[in-house]
Amino acid sequence: MQNMALKNTALKNMAQKTQAPLTDYLLRLGDNALVLGQRHAQLCGKAPALEEELALMNVGLDLFGQARNWLGYAAELMVADLVTDNIDADHLAFRRDAQDFRNLLITEQPNGDFADTIGRQFLFDAWHVHLLDGLAGSSDPRIAEVAAKSLKEATYHLRRSSEWVIRLGDGTEESHTRMQRALDNLWQFTGELLQVDEIDQAMIEAGIAPDPETIAARWKATVEEVLEEATLERPSYDAWMYTGGKVGHHTEHLGFLLAEMQYLPRAYPDATVW
């Protein structure tokens, strides 16, 4: 029996090794949307204005839907490759620990004040739309269709977050100060948006992910255009950057977010009606 168990483990490990790049890449896409969506959900009932409450919840809902599409695909691959038993998107969302999450560090940063919330969203959206635009031409048809659908939604997200960055940056002295402060603080997490590691490289070579140089150039162009109109000072691209989210090394904020998000399904693991 022990031998058989060992053999199964070896089989699973081997399968995981061959499957890891695409599965890992899907987890990155899904976890970005899930974690940022959860940050929005945390603002339910706490937004500064009724209209913003609606907008924040709608953006969060879009992100949850995208997360479900990405994680659903990741779960299917994991099952097909014998990496794990029968699981689905919910399992990946609610039964993994922080070190298994592959989201970018910027998505897990706290909501802070409204400038922090909007700044985080803008810096992410400006990257997300260009990434999704590229993924819509992916060699993987399933990725292409999820990206094409998500792109339409992300375009509205960017439109809204850009308008807010401009309104706050080019607003009152107080709003300008806060928006600049949020930008300066969040900037250290933007290096990871443009970072290319071996998993990204494998996806790019397979034609699954788009050319990172193009994404980086477009992200910079969008950020520069909006910040200039917002009369905000752009921090240096050469500043020291935090990385690690893509391989599961997170800031301390993610654990608290997951504890809240996962509480119910973990407390009642077999419940089908909550």
Partner: protein
């Protein structure tokens, strides 16, 4: 949402299949002890003859035209443009449905309502499939759907879902659905649902939802 406990009269389908009424009541309103009632679930007929005849598709469409969108109940799933394909797979009716938004919370409910309406109309075990591609666009809203939205107080999408309209490079003039004035302004990019923006009329001063281009 309709007020509970007071469901509207169930519409009667006028089709060649049968004349069974469709239960359009909200799910939690349904009597649990006799749903689905035995004569409905007992319908083991193979539904319809194989696909290909126009009349068959029309009969299915007639059933689906009675299934309202749960969030904007004045338009049907057909008028909303989310029913993408109707076909028969080995004598089994297959309906392809596309979600409006990735995170639309009504997606499962809509699929369930479509399934129930078809079963009630005599189609045994219809297959409801979700399709993401091509992604839904407001261009698929039918003309009658648009008119019903307007009459309901929701301004229908203006123009086509071009890249310019998505990125906001061409802000449309959205006429007020209440007084018809063109002097309106956007209050927020997102309204009561992800598919709508919040507008305000500067003439009649009423706020209204705009079904934005996607």
């Amino acid at each position: 949402m309709r007020p509970s406990g007071n469901p509207p009269p169930a519409p009667v389908i006028d089709g060649p299949i049968d004349n069974r009424p469709i239960d359009n009541r909200p799910i939690d309103n349904r009597p649990t002890d006799n749903w689905p009632s035995s004569d409905l679930i007992g319908s083991d007929r193979r539904g319809l003859p194989p696909a290909g005849e126009k009349g068959d598709i029309d009969a299915v469409l007639a059933v689906l035209e009675q299934v309202p969108d749960p969030e904007v109940p004045v338009v049907s799933v057909v008028e909303l443009g989310i029913v993408r394909d109707i076909d028969w797979v080995d004598d089994r009716l297959a309906v392809n449905v596309t979600p409006t938004y990735s995170g639309c919370p009504a997606t499962e409910v809509i699929e369930q309502h479509i399934h129930e309406a078809l079963v009630a109309a005599g189609y045994s075990d219809p297959l409801i499939q979700r399709r993401l591609s091509p992604a839904w666009t407001t261009d698929w809203l039918t003309d009658t759907g648009r008119e019903k939205l307007r009459a309901y107080g929701i301004a229908p999408p203006v123009g086509s879902a071009s890249k310019r309209s998505l990125t906001g490079q061409s802000d449309p003039v959205v006429p007020c659905p209440l007084c018809g004035s063109n002097t309106t302004e956007r209050v927020s990019e997102f309204g009561s649902t992800a598919c709508k923006a919040l507008y305000r009329c500067r003439d009649c001063l009423e706020p209204f939802d705009y079904f934005k281009c996607l």
